[in-house]
């Protein structure tokens, strides 16, 4: 555990990406199985414990620390793992902690009733940085600036294997990844995985740079589609029940039985999950009601039936067609729809255009009249490449809407922004009253963050726990993609992707927007 704790600390504090990769590669090559496999699982977020959750850890700590002092401390530190590691009142470091794999075993097999005692003992035995690593391990959510991709890059670096090959088998292998490391060490062949039942990493797009890209791209080489406002999914059809994965490879089929039980054919499809009747997409917040659930109620399914607007095909039957150009995959996809009638799948239509200016006009009109998020532009000759290859797929988002809103409440951020007031709730006028219309926590620079933090501290009028209510005098120009009707907010509107576009230090709050200006932006349905 000591080595792993040191690795996590190094990763958290090393700003350089290359040095992080070096540290990871050194750890993976010097650490025996299965410890390094569990470490990889922790770093990629693949490890979780059924009964060790943040709430339980908090409970263990609150048995030893005054709850109010804990709350003040957590509010200051902004990271639960760190707060627990720092506040734990029993100094340890006397006993050696178990190895990483033994620790995983212990946390997995200890009966629920004895977990609190075990965690308390481990926290006391640990040295300060081990305590921090322990809490991170137990609760996930590392926040140390290491992505799954960075960990895999280190594996590639260590072994000389191609990152693409690692990505390819990643979703077919399981922790503690003995077969993966044996292959990387050169002692056994590449692990065999069942391609049809596994999630395949997605191909992603880059935002278009209007000033640079259009000059060099020939419209004849590209096709365009609407950018649909749902969630990206992968649907795997075969002999057994269909599998449905989110863009990160999470299995979300149980939440969409209406969909997965009513799709037919054989292959792997890429598309947008939406809800609505007759393939008529409802606004995103309708879909949101069906997300993050383990199952769906009859009522919810009845109100918001799910469907997929399909735009690509990775496997045709058992045949891997990802190396084919888009135009050939599209032909296969059209054949797929010609072969069978689908009630829950439809084909994403192409937009006809002859030059970029015309596409721009289509995009603007779609945004204004139908609330479309923008358009996707795809290279006809591009193969399906996992990751975010340059020059193949572009997203061209609609111009954002802007509204001047007044800062009302602030909360401290987390992770890199812990201890700064960086989560802002802003509002618009309804008569003489301000009502909250949204929340944003990005869009400003680090220097602006410091100024905002200072402003919040100096203009607080009261505090509710971690939330500070501030003087209603600072105006933000808030950019957002679209407005939707909402019953959850007092204002009756919800903004999609709100971000602080500019801080209007100069503008008096009385000149901020009225709620009806935002309401007018809600597309009629």
């Amino acid at each position: 555990m000591k080595r792993f704790a040191t690795l996590l600390e190094t990763l958290a504090l090393t700003p350089s990406r290359n040095r992080k990769i070096e540290a990871l590669a050194a750890y993976f090559s010097d650490t025996p199985d299965p410890d390094r496999g569990y470490a990889l699982a922790v770093l990629t977020g693949a490890l979780s414990f059924a009964h060790v959750k943040p709430a339980r850890l908090k409970q263990v700590v609150l048995a030893e620390v005054d709850p109010h002092l804990f709350a003040l401390s957590y509010d200051y530190v902004g990271d639960l793992g760190e707060t627990i590691a720092l506040i734990w009142p029993h100094k340890g470091g006397m006993r050696e902690l178990p190895s990483l794999s033994n620790l995983v075993e212990l946390l997995n097999t200890t009966p629920k009733s004895e977990l609190a005692l075990l965690i308390a003992e481990l926290l006391t035995s640990a040295q300060i940085n081990e305590r921090w690593a322990l809490v991170k391990l137990a609760t996930g959510g590392l926040r140390i600036g290491v992505s799954e991709r960075l960990a895999k890059t280190a594996l590639a670096e260590m072994s000389g294997m191609d990152l693409k090959d690692i990505e390819e088998i990643w979703h077919g292998i399981k922790m503690p990844y003995g077969d993966l490391f044996a292959w990387l060490d050169g002692t056994s062949p590449k692990p065999e995985i069942d391609h049809t039942a596994r999630f395949h990493p997605l191909m992603l797009s880059n935002p278009i740079d209007e000033d640079k890209d259009f000059a060099s791209l020939d419209p004849a080489d590209f096709v365009a589609e609407w950018k649909w406002d749902g969630i990206r999914v992968q649907l795997i059809l075969g002999d057994g029940p269909a599998s449905l994965f989110s863009r990160t490879g999470e299995d979300i089929a149980p939440a969409f039985p209406d969909l997965v039980e009513n799709v037919f054919g054989h292959g792997v499809l890429d598309g947008e999950l939406l809800v609505g009747n007759n393939f008529e997409p409802a606004p995103f917040n309708a879909l949101q009601q069906r997300l993050n659930r383990k199952s769906a109620t009859e009522k919810l399914i009845g109100e918001h039936p799910a469907f997929i607007r399909v735009y690509d095909m990775l496997f045709d039957g058992d045949e891997d067609i990802r190396a084919l150009p888009w135009i050939d995959r599209r032909a296969r996809l059209q054949d797929f729809f010609a072969d069978q009638t689908q009630s829950r799948l439809d084909l994403s239509q192409l937009l006809a255009f002859s030059d970029w200016e015309q596409l721009g006009a289509i995009r603007r009109q779609g945004a204004d009249e139908n609330g479309h998020e923008g358009v996707m532009i795809k290279l006809k000759s591009a193969p399906y490449v996992p990751g975010r290859p340059k020059g193949n797929w572009f997203k061209w988002k609609r111009d954002p809407n802007l509204v001047d809103a007044v800062l009302m409440y602030a909360q401290r951020g987390h992770g890199k922004r812990s201890s700064y007031y960086s989560d802002f709730t802003f509002g618009a006028w309804r008569g003489n009253e301000l009502v909250p219309i949204g929340k944003a926590y990005f869009g400003f620079t680090d220097a602006e963050l410091k100024e905002l933090d200072k402003w919040v501290r100096a203009h607080t009028i009261q505090s509710f726990g971690p939330v500070r209510e501030v003087e209603k005098s600072l105006v933000f120009e808030v950019a957002f993609d679209s407005a939707q009707a909402s019953t959850r907010h007092k204002s009756g509107v919800a903004l999609r992707f709100p971000r602080i576009n500019r801080i209007r230090w100069d503008k008096p709050a009385t000149e901020a927007a009225n709620v009806d200006e935002v309401e007018n932006l809600i597309p009629a349905t």
Partner: protein, 331 residues
């Protein structure tokens, strides 16, 4: 108690302020840090070390006149007696004991209780009203022993022998403390200084604090700086200044460094938790040890200490004095 001292640290009977943030007729200065010692007062009472520090930083005429007062020497003015006791924070730092009508009030200024060869050791002063700082007034602050932090630095030096180790440290107090800790740990190579450190290091040496061989970082070659220790003000770490150094490891000596997310925010690769303030256990210990029934809490995280003191059955209030900022945090 309020008749002895007002909430803005005004000693009413003798119309004198402790560490005033505005220019005043009469001021008692606890120590030389900028948020406590300001220029422009008419008459300043302080320890000889603090007066020397103020004159070095702001010039000999930064106050109308100076009156030195040695530690432990009672000074009677009307029916008020002022005595300065060591606070252990930096060279010359003092706590102020104010006695009047049989009541004892102590203003701690900034203080720490761990031994430090660059500051006179803290003395506990029993009192009725304690006005304490609370820079690290949260139970998450439990500072490790500084020798552990110096060991971390040595380990990094051994692991990266080609990289210059730049330690961000406040020029007054922290820089000299770090140097002294290094010397105590047996580090006898030259230590390189950013120009802003020089004057105050010289002053410490003049006043009898041994710091070993110090050199100007700007006059050293890249080869000399590889694997060397350089002390610079925290602001220089992010500056062009540190970019000339050979592949620098950015370190910072500060109590804030115990919070890793804080270190990450400031791009610090090697956080060294070396603090010149009391941590939470020492802070609460001090409140108990003084026997004070009333606690006023000045700058820092007042909420937690006020809450804790009230739980102990004490009368406690935050003072919210504007203009007090912790020098380390502000860098």
């Amino acid at each position: 108690m309020a008749q002895v001292l007002d909430r803005d640290l005004h000693i009413r009977r003798i119309d004198t302020y402790v560490d005033p943030t505005l220019p005043r007729e009469r001021a008692i200065i606890t120590h030389g840090h900028a948020d406590h010692a300001r220029s422009g007062h008419q008459k300043v009472l302080a320890t000889p070390d603090t007066i020397a520090i103020m004159q070095t930083r702001y010039g000999p005429d930064c106050a109308g006149s100076f009156q030195p007062l040695e530690f432990g020497q009672p000074l009677r003015i009307d029916d008020v007696t002022i005595t300065l006791y060591p606070a252990g924070h930096i060279l010359g730092s003092a706590q102020v004991l104010i006695e009047q009508d049989g009541q004892r009030v102590v203003v701690t200024g900034d203080y720490k209780r761990l031994p430090d060869k660059t500051a006179q050791p803290f003395e506990l002063v029993p009192c009725d009203l304690l006005v304490t700082e609370a820079t690290f007034g949260l139970p998450v602050f439990q500072h490790p022993h500084p020798s552990e932090e110096i060991a971390k630095l040595f380990k990094s030096l051994a692991a990266h022998p080609g990289r210059a180790h730049v330690i961000g440290a406040y020029a007054l107090g922290k820089a000299q403390r770090v140097i002294s800790l290094l010397r105590d740990a047996g580090y006898d190579a030259p230590i390189y200084l950013h120009g802003a450190m020089q004057r105050l290091c010289d002053l410490y040496i003049e006043r009898g604090i041994a710091l070993g061989e110090l050199r100007h970082a700007t006059e050293a070659t890249k080869a000399e700086l590889a694997g060397a220790i350089i002390i610079a003000p925290p602001s220089a770490l992010k500056d062009r200044w540190s970019r000339r150094l050979p592949d620098p490891v950015l370190a910072m000596a500060s109590g804030w460094m115990s919070v890793k997310q804080r270190a990450r925010q400031s791009g610090i690769e090697l956080p060294l938790v070396i603090s010149d303030h009391v941590d939470w256990p020492e802070l609460t210990q001090t409140v108990t040890d003084t026997g004070a029934a009333t606690i006023w809490v000045t700058h820092g995280r007042e909420d937690a200490l006020v809450y804790w003191s009230r739980q102990q059955g004490l009368v406690a209030e935050p003072l919210n004095i504007q203009g007090y900022e912790d020098e380390e945090q502000e860098q």
